[in-house]
Each structure stands twice: as structure tokens, then as C-alpha cells.
């Protein structure tokens, strides 16, 4: 047996590299969307969430995304306010669908006479949508079933809401009702929509029977608004300062935007869709149901347990999309807070593949270049070759570790691998220099007393530097690792793993090899 193989340090290195290689072959290294293509979306909640809320939010978003039928979606909470979604697709339509299903807080509320009678929690199940062709476009129905408690609550909520002369109340169903907000209605919209019906299409108003015509005020009262204004150019925005509430406005009112920005008032612009009611859109109203005596005046045991949300769509596809999104939101429940999209990145698969090979070749070339540098420095292959082997085994072990914990290698991880092995060579240089040149004066005296002892001492001293430097680099990277910033964690992780693999496995073995090389001279 070769004397080097008797050293446990060298054995540890060989075994570790073998295990890493087996892990890479059998478990496989996973690569992130940087190399496979896909998209990354980052969403931000309106307020910081508690850890439980964040966990719940991630679950709800996962649920919503699973229903969109997309394969390989990854949702991660990041810090207390952001959620990162990785998708394996870079198709703009699919991404748009994802955005639509995630961007809703999804708080369902049914309101009768300004009282909430049902919330999302009362929904037991959502039935398949019914889509039927209408004169123009399609109408759709989305029936849903209430829980036993929901039935009870709904029953108490609507009981007696029909007067004896047959005038009945309406049920307003919202998803994300603008509670506590201020609505600024442009004057022309207020005139056009002063009477609305139970469907959002304005054209229908003229044809609607008298009992289906509802004054706009009814709509606004049930929306939970803090206040609303009918606004024209003469509107004095100072009043908004006192109200101190988020503002909803139409694009034609954007002359108010500089004022709102100046005073840090959050605001939402809701565009007007041709032919549809702006009030519906601005208050997030989804459905209005006219109650009938057979619903309101029954005995508890005959209370209805099924409700329907109805709507209209341009074409069949649109109807399907709308009902699907609605169903997902109703079924998954409400997110703890509202959220918005803050970052989006799309990587085509072809680009990812090219980037992958470029990185592999680069790592390989970098290794060769570093080896050549070391070889010219020491002019001795017996030193240069072990250094190169050490670098190579470090890279294998980092990949092996990634395979072990199922880490997805992305571009920052690759950079971390190059950086940690590139700086890792430094340690080998420290050890080598120490062994070759260190303690020159003492060595002269010790020449006769036995060189081996002195080499050991030198290696031990070199390891003081190795440990101190490794510790400093890890300390610098730990805060990055715990920042949880998705684009940086990979870098910090591979750097730290690289450094640890170096100080714990490869460098002790390298010290052994260098001792062997020098003592044989």
C-alpha cells in the first residue's frame, strides 16, 4: 500500500470524493431555472406577516398554482413580506394566468344591507362552472356549496329581508371588498352609472325590469368604503389628508396622482373597460343576487345551502378563464394580506442550456488556468498536481453536497463554486509556502534532529492561517445566507460549503500529501 493511503486524512478525502461522486450519479444534481429556463416572480405583501401567516400564505399560493395545472412550481416565503415563485415556464400567457390567480388576496364576502353574511370560510366546495352562450358572448355561473355553519349564518343574515309587499334585498358578493378605502368617482362615470343592475354590463341597464334597477348608492353603501366622492376638476384633494385612507381612482383622475404621491397616500388606478361598469370593477364586486321570498322566508331546515356567482364573458375561453380563476380563489381561501408583483424574470430554455455549458467549460478552464499558475510558481509538478487535484475534488464535493440536500444550482451558486475554490487555492499556497520556506532560521538548527517533526510543526502553523481565513470568510457570508434573499442564498451557500469542505476535508489531506512530497526529497 502506498504510504499516503495509510493516512486517515487522505482516506477521508478519497472516501468523501467517492461518496460525492455517487451522490451526483445516483441522486443527480438539480439545476435551477437559470440553467433550465423558466421564470421567477417576486410578490410583496402589503404588510409584514407573522411566520404562521407566511406559512399559510405560501400554502394558499401553492394551492392556487397547483390548480392552474402547471408542473414544477416552487413557492418560497422570503423574509416576512415577500414570496418568490419559480416556474418552469417562460410562456407569457401562462405567467399572466399565474399572476392573476396569485395577485388576489381572495377575501370572499357576501353583504346584505351592509352586513357581512358570509365569508370565504363558509364555503365548503365550489362546483364546476356552467357556461352558456348569450346573445353576445357568454354568460357563466359558478355554483358553490356552503358549510353547515355557512348555511346557518346565511339564513340568519337574509331572514326577513323581503318585505310583505314583495320588495327584497340584494346580496352583494365581493372578492377583496375595498373596506376602509376612499373611492373617487369621476363625474361622467357617476352620471352614466347612477343606476345599475345585477350584472356588470351597462348595456343591460336599459332592458332590465324595474325591480332589477338598483341605484348606484346601494352598491357603494355595501362596499364598505370609508367615503366616496363624485369628483371633477374642481375637487379639492385636501380632504383626503384628513381621511388618511387608501384611494381608488380612475385613470382620468390622474391629475390627483402627484398630490397623492406627495403625501404618501396609497392609491389604486382602476381603468374603465368599455361597456362594463366601473363601479363594479372599482369595488371588486363579483355578483349581485336579488333575494326572493322563497329564500328569505323559509324555515331553518329548508335554508338553501347553495349560492351562485354569475357573470359575462366575451367568448368561451374568456369565460372559462374567469370562472377558473374565481374557483381557485374561492377554494384556496384568502391570503393574510393583499400583495403586489415586484419583480419578474424570464429565462428561455435555450438560453439556460447555453449558459449551463458555458459555465461548465468556464469552471474547467479556470481550474486549468489556476493549475498552470501554480505550476509556474512552484516549478514542481509534485506540488502543482496535488493542488489541482484538491481543487477538482472540492468542486466534486460541493456538487455532491448540493445533490445530497437537493439544492438547485443556479448562477449565483456556480459563481460561489468558482469563488470558493479560487480562494481555496490560497490555502494550499499558504500550506506549501509554509512547508517550503517557513521557519527558515530554526530549520538550520533542527536539520540534524529530524526534518519530519519540523514539517509537521510547519503544517500545523499553516493551519492556523487556514482556519482563521476560513472563519473570516464564513462570517462574512453567514448574514447573506440568513438574509434569505433568493438570488444570494445560493452564492452564500456554495461559498460556505466550499470553504468548509476545504478546511475539513481537502486541506488536511493536502497537508499530508505535501508533507510526503517534501519529506521524500
Amino acid at each position: 500500500m502506498h504510504p499516503l493511503l495509510k493516512s486517515w486524512r487522505v482516506r477521508l478525502l478519497i472516501i468523501s470524493v467517492l461518496i460525492a461522486a455517487l451522490l451526483i450519479v445516483f441522486r443527480g444534481v438539480q439545476f435551477g431555472i437559470d440553467f433550465k429556463g423558466g421564470s421567477v416572480l417576486i410578490f410583496q405583501f402589503d404588510r409584514p406577516l407573522t411566520p404562521q401567516e407566511m406559512q399559510q400564505a405560501v400554502l394558499i399560493i401553492e394551492k392556487r398554482l397547483n390548480w392552474t395545472g402547471l408542473s414544477s412550481v416552487r413557492v418560497r416565503g422570503w423574509g416576512d413580506q415577500q414570496v418568490v415563485i419559480e416556474l418552469s415556464t417562460d410562456n407569457p400567457q401562462e405567467i399572466q394566468r399565474i399572476k392573476e390567480s396569485v395577485l388576489r388576496q381572495g377575501k370572499f364576502e357576501a353583504v346584505v344591507d351592509q352586513k357581512v353574511v358570509l365569508t370565504g370560510k363558509d364555503i365548503a366546495a365550489v362546483k364546476p362552472p356552467i357556461i352558456t352562450p348569450a346573445e353576445i358572448g357568454y354568460t357563466w355561473k359558478l355554483p358553490f356549496v356552503l358549510t353547515p355553519e355557512g348555511v346557518k349564518r346565511f339564513y340568519t343574515g337574509v331572514h326577513g329581508k323581503c318585505t310583505p309587499d314583495g320588495r327584497c334585498a340584494y346580496v352583494f358578493m365581493y372578492i377583496d371588498r375595498p373596506v376602509g378605502k376612499v373611492l373617487l368617482i369621476p363625474k361622467d362615470i357617476a352620471q352614466e352609472e347612477n343606476v345599475l343592475t345585477t350584472i356588470p354590463e351597462l348595456k343591460a341597464v336599459e332592458q332590465a325590469p324595474a325591480d332589477q334597477r338598483i341605484p348606484m348608492v346601494e352598491f357603494l353603501k355595501n362596499a364598505g368604503l370609508k367615503k366616496w366622492f363624485i369628483v371633477d376638476r374642481n375637487f379639492n384633494p385636501q380632504v383626503l389628508l384628513e381621511l388618511n385612507a387608501p384611494v381608488i381612482l380612475a385613470p382620468e383622475e390622474n391629475y390627483l396622482v402627484p398630490f397623492l404621491q406627495e403625501h404618501n397616500i396609497p392609491y389604486t388606478l382602476v381603468p374603465k373597460q368599455p361597456g362594463e361598469s366601473w363601479i363594479w370593477a372599482a369595488t371588486n364586486l363579483r355578483s349581485v343576487v336579488h333575494l326572493t321570498p322563497d329564500v328569505t322566508n323559509v324555515t331553518p331546515e329548508h335554508a338553501s345551502n347553495e349560492l351562485v356567482i354569475t357573470g359575462w364573458a366575451k367568448n368561451y375561453e374568456d369565460a372559462k378563464q374567469k370562472t377558473e380563476t374565481l374557483r381557485i380563489i374561492l377554494e384556496s381561501g384568502a391570503l393574510p394580506a393583499g400583495l403586489q408583483l415586484v419583480s419578474e424574470r424570464r429565462i428561455p430554455a435555450k438560453y439556460g442550456e447555453q449558459a449551463f455549458y458555458t459555465f461548465l467549460i468556464t469552471i474547467f478552464l479556470a481550474m486549468i488556468a489556476v493549475s498552470i499558475y501554480v505550476a509556474t510558481r512552484y516549478k514542481d509538478l509534485r506540488i502543482a498536481v496535488p493542488i489541482s487535484i484538491t481543487v477538482f475534488s472540492e468542486i466534486v464535493m460541493i456538487f455532491g453536497f448540493a445533490a445530497l440536500i437537493g439544492w438547485r444550482i443556479d448562477i449565483p451558486s456556480m459563481i460561489g463554486i468558482i469563488a470558493s475554490t479560487g480562494t481555496g487555492v490560497d490555502d494550499q499556497i499558504v500550506i506549501t509556502d509554509e512547508v517550503l520556506h517557513g521557519g527558515a532560521k530554526r530549520e538550520e538548527k533542527e536539520r540534524e534532529t529530524g526534518e519530519k517533526k519540523s514539517i509537521w510543526k510547519k503544517i500545523r502553523r499553516a493551519f492556523f492561517i487556514v482556519w482563521a481565513t476560513a472563519s473570516a470568510l464564513i462570517m462574512a457570508m453567514l448574514p447573506v445566507l440568513f438574509s434569505g434573499i433568493p438570488t444570494l442564498v445560493g452564492f452564500a451557500l456554495t461559498t460556505i460549503v466550499g470553504v468548509l469542505v476545504g478546511v475539513l476535508i481537502t486541506r488536511p489531506a493536502f497537508g499530508e500529501i505535501i508533507r510526503y512530497v517534501v519529506s521524500r526529497k
Binding site: 373597460q273 510558481r377 509556502d433 520556506h437 448574514p479
Partner: protein, 389 residues
């Protein structure tokens, strides 16, 4: 057999066990050390090239002893004024980093759009930048043409548009894209803005393909900034603790952490000069390079604080010994980092290119700070400390 002997002989030379002692001895003899300020050894007084020329032929082929002696001479003669170089640089760096041209905040903090693409023809960078500026009305547009080898189109480019300050985010409730309104009252949703950038690219580079788009809205900026600052503060605190734990000496730890701060300022100045903005990734690299720069400081401190005169000579020769090792450490790191710069260029990844560049800045700043500031200061401290003891 004879070849093997020859090899052994050459190893004996390069290893320095033989010749180095003889060449290093004149500098490290105790008589000289006592009055090293005024009456230096003739070798040390001579200018650096002369020192190298006096090295015996057997050693001449090796770079290290030359560097070793050069540094030893430098430290022995000039250690009291050497720090002036980095000190002057520091003042200049502070000015460059914070006053003019000043370091800029990148898309991560201010929001913006990054598009990279491939093309079969070289990309006219100036023309493209002008087209994007014209299309969006945004002044801060960076265009980097790239070239790659192997399969796929040979050329490509990266376009970075940083949102101007007067653009603010407008969340919409029904249209699910954030909306941007400029102060002028003209308004674009982020998607429309993106579309404009893409149209401008397609106009100048009709065959643009493999398009990668990334957009960051400014809303996330303040969160990022707080996180980044937290990371930086923690990194410095932890590093200081770590260094102190290893050396158990307050002043040297302070000197090392001080050097790290100087390094940081140096890197920031270089970033400002080369128009590389502060982003999350560049901040991380700054931290990593600060952690890395401590490496050479540790090598230096170990040689100065943990070694004795009887082992390796006086503090000048110990510092010089540390410098030869340290410079080669920087050398290998520099080689690895040049490849990071190259891979960023080849994969049209502006972030990776910037990461590579900042790493190289870090190594360069570290070389100057460690061997021209930290070393003379530490030598002074060691001398004082030794005489007091």
C-alpha cells in the same frame, strides 16, 4: 535516473531550503535589524531592480526571492512612510465613491428592466442605447454588447434601463400589472414600458433572440436596502469577532478590520469609476471580498504576531515573507475571477460580469491595502510592542 536526479536538484533550489537562506540572511541578521532605520544594509537601500540583479544566478529564475527581497527592502527602509500611498488613495477613493462620480444604486434598489438577447450580427451599442433612450425617455440606459463562442448565435447584448426617480409605482386592482406614472403625467404600465424597450431592441437588432427579461419594481427597493445594510453590519461584526478570537489582541484586530473598511472604500471607488452600480449581488460580493481581503491580513498578522525572530527573522523579513505568499494567493484568485468575468460576458449576464469585476477590484484593493497600509502599520505596532515588552 539522471533525469530524476536533475529534477530533485531543481526542487531543492526552488524549495528555497538551500539558496533562500543564503540570500535572505544578509537582510535578517540581528546586527542590521537594530539600526534598520538609519544605517540600512546596502542591499536594502538600493532600488528594487538592483536587488533583483544582485540575486545569485541560481535563484534568479525564481520570482519569489526577488519579490521577497524587494518587499523586505521596502519595509525595512520605508515602512514609516509607505502607508502614505494608501492613505492618499483612501482620500481619493472616498471622493470618487461618494462625491464624484459617486457610486450609483442599481435596479435592485431603484427598479428597472434588464433585457439580454442574442444576435447573429454584432450589436451597435451606442445606437441601441440611443434608441432605448428615445423610446422610453429614460436617461439611464446601459448597453453592453457581448460575444460568445460555440453553438448558437455569436453576438448579443444586454440592455439595462434604470427607472428614473420621478417614476413611481401605481398598483392597479383590476389590470394586474403595476403602473408607472412619470411626473409629466404620461403613464405606462410596467408591461408597456417593457414592450417599448423590446420594440426599440427589435428595431435596432431585428434578429434579437433568446431574450431574457428581468424587471424589478422600485417598491421592493427599500426592503432590499434594509436587508443589505443589515447584512453588511452583521458581516463586519462577525468578522471582527472571528479575527479577535484567533489573535486575541485588540489593536491588531482593529487594524485588520480597519483595513477591511479601507478595502471596501477602494472597491466602491473602483465601482464608481467603472460605472458599476450597487445591487444586491454586488453588495454580497463586496462582503465576500471583504471576508477574502482579511485572508491576506491574517497571513500577514500570523507571520508578524505568531512567529518569533528566532524562527523567521525580524518583522521586516517576516512581513516580506508574508507578502510573497499573499501576492501569490491574490494571483490565483485573480485568475479564477477573470474567468467569472469571462463567463458573464459569454452568457450575456450583466450581473455576473459585474460580480467578476467587483471581485477583481477587491483583489486589487486588497493588494494595495494589505501590503502598503496594513503591513507598515502592523510592523510599527509589533516594533513598539516588542520594545515595550
Amino acid at each position: 535516473m539522471s533525469a530524476r536526479n536533475a529534477e530533485r536538484r531543481s526542487v531543492a533550489k526552488t524549495s528555497g531550503i538551500g539558496p533562500i537562506n543564503t540570500t535572505a540572511a544578509p537582510c535578517t541578521s540581528p546586527e542590521r535589524e537594530a539600526d534598520s532605520n538609519s544605517t540600512n544594509s546596502p542591499i536594502a537601500i538600493k532600488s528594487i531592480p538592483n536587488i533583483i540583479s544582485t540575486v545569485p544566478p541560481a535563484v534568479k529564475s525564481m520570482r519569489s526571492p526577488g519579490v521577497l527581497m524587494a518587499f523586505e527592502g521596502l519595509y525595512r527602509k520605508h515602512y514609516k512612510i509607505l502607508w502614505l500611498i494608501p492613505a492618499i488613495l483612501f482620500v481619493a477613493n472616498v471622493f470618487i465613491a461618494f462625491v464624484y462620480p459617486g457610486i450609483k444604486l442599481g435596479v435592485d434598489f431603484r427598479g428597472g428592466i434588464l433585457v439580454s438577447f442574442a444576435s447573429d450580427k454584432p450589436v451597435p451599442a451606442d445606437k441601441l442605447a440611443a434608441a432605448v433612450k428615445a423610446a422610453t425617455g429614460v436617461a439611464e440606459v446601459t448597453v453592453v454588447p457581448t460575444e460568445s463562442f460555440g453553438t448558437g448565435p455569436r453576438y448579443g447584448g444586454i440592455v439595462e434601463v434604470v427607472y428614473p426617480e420621478n417614476i413611481k409605482l401605481v398598483p392597479e386592482s383590476n389590470v394586474q400589472t403595476p403602473q408607472l406614472t412619470a411626473g409629466t403625467g404620461s403613464e405606462l404600465t410596467a408591461d408597456q414600458f417593457k414592450q417599448k424597450v423590446l420594440e426599440a431592441i427589435k428595431k435596432v437588432v431585428p434578429d434579437a433572440q433568446n431574450i431574457v427579461i428581468q424587471d424589478v419594481t422600485p417598491a421592493i427597493g427599500s426592503t432590499f436596502w434594509n436587508k443589505a445594510m443589515n447584512m453588511a453590519i452583521w458581516a463586519f461584526v462577525l468578522m471582527a469577532i472571528s479575527v479577535f478570537a484567533f489573535f486575541r489582541k485588540g489593536i491588531p484586530t482593529a487594524i485588520m478590520i480597519g483595513s477591511a473598511i479601507f478595502d471596501l472604500i477602494g472597491m466602491l471607488a473602483l465601482m464608481a469609476l467603472f460605472n458599476i452600480p450597487l445591487n444586491l449581488d454586488t453588495i454580497t460580493i463586496l462582503l465576500m471580498m471583504v471576508g477574502y481581503s482579511i485572508d491576506t491580513d491574517i497571513v500577514l498578522s500570523t507571520h508578524l504576531l505568531k512567529r518569533t525572530k528566532s524562527e523567521e527573522g525580524d518583522e521586516f523579513s517576516r512581513a516580506a515573507r508574508a507578502a510573497t505568499t499573499g501576492l501569490h494567493m491574490s494571483g490565483t484568485t485573480l485568475v479564477a475571477m477573470l474567468f467569472i468575468l469571462a463567463v458573464g460576458y459569454l452568457t450575456r449576464n450583466l450581473a455576473v460580469m459585474r460580480v467578476g469585476a467587483v471581485m477583481i477590484f477587491g483583489v486589487l484593493a486588497d493588494i494595495v491595502i494589505t501590503w502598503f497600509l496594513n503591513a507598515p502599520v502592523m510592523i510599527t505596532w509589533v516594533r513598539k510592542h516588542a520594545s515595550a515588552a
